[in-house]
Symmetry: C3
Subunit: 208 residues, 3 copies
């Protein structure tokens, strides 16, 4: 299996689990099958679509290859019929979600750099690619975005670290492929560790 | 009246009732006149703007002809002053809304096909054109999108059927104009029947 | 200090206070540091990004100069550490926010006119530039947009007046720079007066 085939396979697996998390939330909120499909697609594709609109790459990647639409559709249908089983696999879903997080923050940053955006902008778009769909999922489902809740484990911060490493490599001439691979693995490891150790982001104490 | 003049007239009528539904929800939620105008425009134009941003047709159609902005403005003003009357016409509004649903899912799909998007992508954008504004309306008003509620009658599914027919006609060489007209009428009829017979979309039972 | 340097300084001050209002709301809602950063950036940059996506100027201005991203980041960090002090300066924040409102509705309208949009479209985009970020802030924080609440003082209406004056000047051959400056000051004065006198927008009375 070539490196590029591996990236594609991981990317599709990432889309699948992102879509699954959207479908599960829709089921939990009592949405009908339309809501399950909508939340699955929004979660999987929302971040990347927003990134592509901002860098001006239209139609967004999600609309150029039909597989990007098929994967979330399949995830939604599978979750619809097998959601009790999917829920028992909750930890497995979170592990793949962490892989998706690592992968998408890296590929999002690389794409923004390819389109000649500056390093800070590319980091922001890398994070957006990885976490944007989840925020759209939560807003549509009328939940406080899990990304910003003080009782949720680190999610955006590992993505920010990974995106920053990739942007630094781009400007220092280090091998992009080596750093990108390392950054994706680091983000994955940080996210998994954050879940296991309940690492949380700081928040501002409001004096009452 | 030529066919194209008829389509334009129906399109403007569709925008008018979409905007009315936004204005009515804003009034019901106790929003001020700014909220009424905002929700009217968002409901009428949101789906088409999103479609045009995705296919890369900027500025979106809603910003090319001033009539597309004037119609929702007029609908908002009329609803502001005459909302008790408009509410008594609720069923009439729903009938025109069904016409808008049929029309916009067809024109949205055709536009996406014109921009060389694939059939699945075109169907998704056709549905987005027809239902996107309503979802934005409900999110802004902090309501669960009526599109996904299990107690609301079929809305997106008729649009999906219509959009699929149009995409199939495009690839099989059938007369686009005949199929498009038939599809729009079918969507309208399905939506009206769904309302009268309380047809609802399936949902996933959560075992408690 | 040249006129253009003054506009840039005011623009950055406007971004800073818009971002501060986002960070303060995030703290009030109990969001973590990720939420504080996200809401700060969304509030400051959301309206301008939406305008640029619609007129087709990608990447949006917010992504072309890194200072546009740095300012909201700094505002978020300062608010994170010094929010009790920032809250005591609430009125000062509102005064700068009014300055931002005046400035961004004028610059947003001018940019849309530059991109050859019609006058009504340019006015709508000018208002969007000024108020769009605040609406995105409130939706993400699951609040009824303060823009549409009947207990909030005039905000969009001064922006609409300012944007309309700028569009009229563009078409009547009046000096754009004089009218634009006057319009920004007028919007600022109207907003401050509305706050002091509790001017509110009309709303539709729902008979119960």
């Amino acid at each position: 299996m070539s490196a590029s085939a591996l990236v594609t396979a991981l990317e599709l697996a990432g889309l699948y689990v992102f879509a699954t998390s959207g479908a599960l939330l829709a089921i939990q909120k009592g949405f009908d099958v339309v809501g399950i499909l909508m939340l699955a697609m929004l979660t999987a594709l929302g971040g990347g679509i927003l990134r592509d609109l901002i860098i001006g790459d239209t139609p967004p990647a999600a609309f150029t290859e039909v597989i990007y639409l098929i994967i979330p559709l399949v995830a939604a249908v599978v979750t619809f019929f097998a959601h009790p089983l999917v829920q028992r696999l909750a930890f497995t879903v979170l592990v793949f979600d962490a892989a998706g997080l690592g992968l998408f923050c890296v590929t999002g940053t690389l794409k923004a750099l390819d389109f000649d955006l500056g390093p800070v902008q590319a980091v922001l778009l890398g994070i957006t690619t990885a976490v944007g769909g989840g925020v759209m999922r939560d807003i549509t489902a009328r939940e406080t975005p899990s990304l910003v809740r003080t009782d949720s484990e680190l999610y955006a911060i590992p993505a920010a670290i990974g995106a920053t490493l990739v942007a630094c490599a781009h400007y220092t001439g280090l091998s992009t492929i080596v750093v990108a691979t390392g950054a994706a693995i680091l983000v994955f490891a940080l996210r998994i560790t954050a879940m296991l150790r309940h690492w949380r982001a700081p928040y501002a104490r409001v004096r009452s």
